[in-house]
Symmetry: C2
Subunit: 423 residues, 2 copies
């Protein structure tokens, strides 16, 4: 089987290297001999340090895709164009494709799924979500018959690293971010990670596969971690919680799908609460299977190449058998807006310290039907700090409560609000 590789950066080079080491073992296990015969790159002069056949490198990515000698196309360029056009061309010419491109799938996945369905070829993308963790395959195959309710993940390693430093060392957000940048976990401009855009693209793909309806990045509600303070983490610990940036996809009884990314408090005993450093994990809940979690490396050249290789072997095996396991086109999801999502909430409010304040504050909760599960009061000189955990409430009611609390004379400020995920 001759493989054409589009892009040879971090992941591409790791794939060339991994395949070179594993070629004989794969042949022994599967009967497939995989050779990367052409690699399209921008810079032909750059040393790749990986074992490629002479003359494999080319500028001509369109020619690679059209080459009748190429059996499977692997795309690790990233970004929307030219990846989209190249993959569509490959699919239309009947070639199975493997991609690690979350941005493309989360935004224009519907075009690719339709094309793959029409051409009857494989479109595989395990590496696009949660790096090396086998997640897409279990969701689309093992769990295709399972009544899934919710999929909830730590799918961004950068932010999990930052939150782990804040949690374990009491670091502030800025210091933890600087450390992540020094270690190369965070970009110079960390916006895509810390504001939840990267996790948002991934949860759109997860929701699409888990629920069988098309969800796009634009459907995802976002809140990042740049507002998190050491105090928030400290309060979470005192109440028995950890704080994680969660990407959550839920389906309600009417089949509507809610997709959101925000920091959340999780009980310390929750499996996701134990996921440390830059690791990723995805927690899956179904009516029959109960709770599942998939844990591992969500990024990095070698883990991502491992996921690409698994897909590549599958695509090649299907091609040899003359079959494909494409998913076809997904109907567009009915999206449940964030206002209608229900959650528990943690609220931290500074108030003036005088009698009757709690009465006024609790009146605002009551007015909007938000029920208080627990409250702690702490004196701060002239002020007092009130920390509430609510029972489950609707987001719109909580937002109305926040608005009215801010207008209350006795409230100096609402220091923070975090959603709480029950056990």
């Amino acid at each position: 089987m001759r493989v054409g590789l589009l892009g040879c950066g971090n992941v591409g080079a790791a794939l060339v290297d991994l395949l070179d080491r594993q070629r004989d073992a794969i042949a022994a296990r599967t009967g497939l001999r995989l050779e990367i015969t052409r690699v399209a790159v921008r810079n032909l002069e750059k040393a790749r340090g990986v074992p490629l056949p002479a003359g494999a490198l080319t500028h001509d990515s369109a020619g690679l895709v059209a080459d009748p000698d190429i059996d499977v196309v692997v795309e690790v360029i990233g970004g929307i164009e030219p990846a989209r056009t190249l993959l569509l061309d490959a699919i239309k010419s009947g070639k199975p494709v493997v991609t690690a491109n979350k941005e493309l799938l989360a935004n224009m996945g519907v075009d690719l799924f339709e094309a793959a369905g029409a051409s009857g070829v494989d479109l595989l993308f395990e590496a696009a979500v949660a790096g090396g963790i086998p997640l897409i395959r279990p969701l689309r195959e093992s769990l295709v018959g399972e009544p899934l309710r919710r999929v909830m993940g730590i799918v961004n390693g950068t932010t999990n690293y930052i939150l782990t430093r804040m949690s374990e060392e009491g670091a502030g957000y800025a210091d933890a971010l600087a450390e992540a940048q020094n270690l190369g976990y965070a970009e110079r401009d960390p916006t895509a990670d810390v504001e939840g855009y990267d996790a948002g693209a991934k949860v759109a793909i997860i929701a699409t596969i888990a629920f069988g309806v098309s969800v796009v990045a634009g459907d995802v509600y976002h809140e990042g971690i740049s507002g998190m303070t050491a105090d928030d983490i400290d309060f979470a610990h005192r109440l028995g919680y950890e704080v994680k940036l969660l990407a959550i996809a839920e389906r309600d009884d009417d089949g509507r799908v809610a997709v959101r990314v925000h920091p959340a408090m999780l009980p310390k005993t929750h499996p996701l609460a134990t996921v440390r450093d830059s690791f990723n994990a995805v927690f899956v809940e179904g009516d029959a299977v109960g709770q599942l979690m998939f844990y591992g490396r969500g990024a990095g050249g070698a883990p991502t190449a491992s996921a690409v290789l698994g897909d590549l072997i599958d695509a090649a095996a299907n091609r040899r058998r003359g079959t494909s396991a494409n998913l076809g086109a997904f109907p567009r999801a009915a999206i449940r807006p964030i206002d209608e999502v229900r959650s528990e909430y943690y609220l931290n409010i500074d108030v003036v310290d005088r009698p009757g304040v709690l009465h006024s504050v609790s009146g605002v909760f009551a007015e909007h039907g938000v029920s208080i599960r627990s409250m702690e009061q702490e004196g701060l000189g002239d002020e007092a700090r009130l920390v509430f955990i609510t029972h489950e409430a609707q987001e719109s009611a909580m937002q109305a409560t926040l608005r009215d609390l801010r207008e209350l004379d006795v409230v100096d400020r609402v220091t923070s609000m975090l959603r709480v995920i029950g056990a």
Copy 2:
């Protein structure tokens, strides 16, 4: 697609129920309409409480397998016979089979794999290991190209429940076992669980799929948890460890496979150390993918039925496409005996409390080339307790050390020895 079901106990009934609820959703997602048309049971009179077509129940399991109207056979009887004969007959007649039978696979799997390879039909068994957790499919598909080094799992929920009670409540072994029996987690005769036979069958299957060589239950070295004491757990905690019953499959550089089940100390920060109660989890290590963990319910009717259903959909889809994804026959594994396995060790020894004792004891370690990483001494009146953690050593050297320690005059007894898994 007409499905014949062999057995209708806990798992079988849950499957009938789950498929009934999910039939339309599965048809919408996959285009497959699955009907369980015949069910072979021992007792036709017993109320099943599940929606089966009239006349579906039969005594005639051989007739069900031979029935030309049955497209796929699902076996949830358990045990070696008649399951083995029925599955071989189904395979030979060209029918894909799905089984949850770990005992059969771990002992006579080679016959089934060979028959499935010869007939070109699917033999799927996700439910045989770790219940509802998608593990076999990720290992055989996603990770088939990955250079896997070690797979290490908590694959017996009963013992994990017992160890969790001992760890979290300081319960003794007998009390924790009694509690597990009261809750229905442990059998009246708990031998298969607590002595590691159940976990041993599962790790034989895991090793076969992970490394692509045939490993059988008889290859697995066993130690159970019935000798564990509250003191052992207490010492583990003080040293920063949890104790878990681990099933471990390792491949060395020569391709030899070591398979073993024994209690082990794991650092508290290890992902497996956080797996509580009756949950299962399997930790997978590969050169490229790094560390992975799969977590979920390892037993129970509904989770196991979920795994069977995933396989059933796959088998039916392959049958419709006229293909199969069978693994063929595996070559017999070269087994590395337990004597040659390397590990760190925890050793707890009661000695007489007089000068020079540590010198004598450490001399025995030195004589066998076992290097000591840390030691703690604690006075106990006339006696002292020595607690050692060694560096990595070979099992045979550790066993020789133990033998000689027991013969030393100053040693009253070796209270316990546990293997330690590094971070």
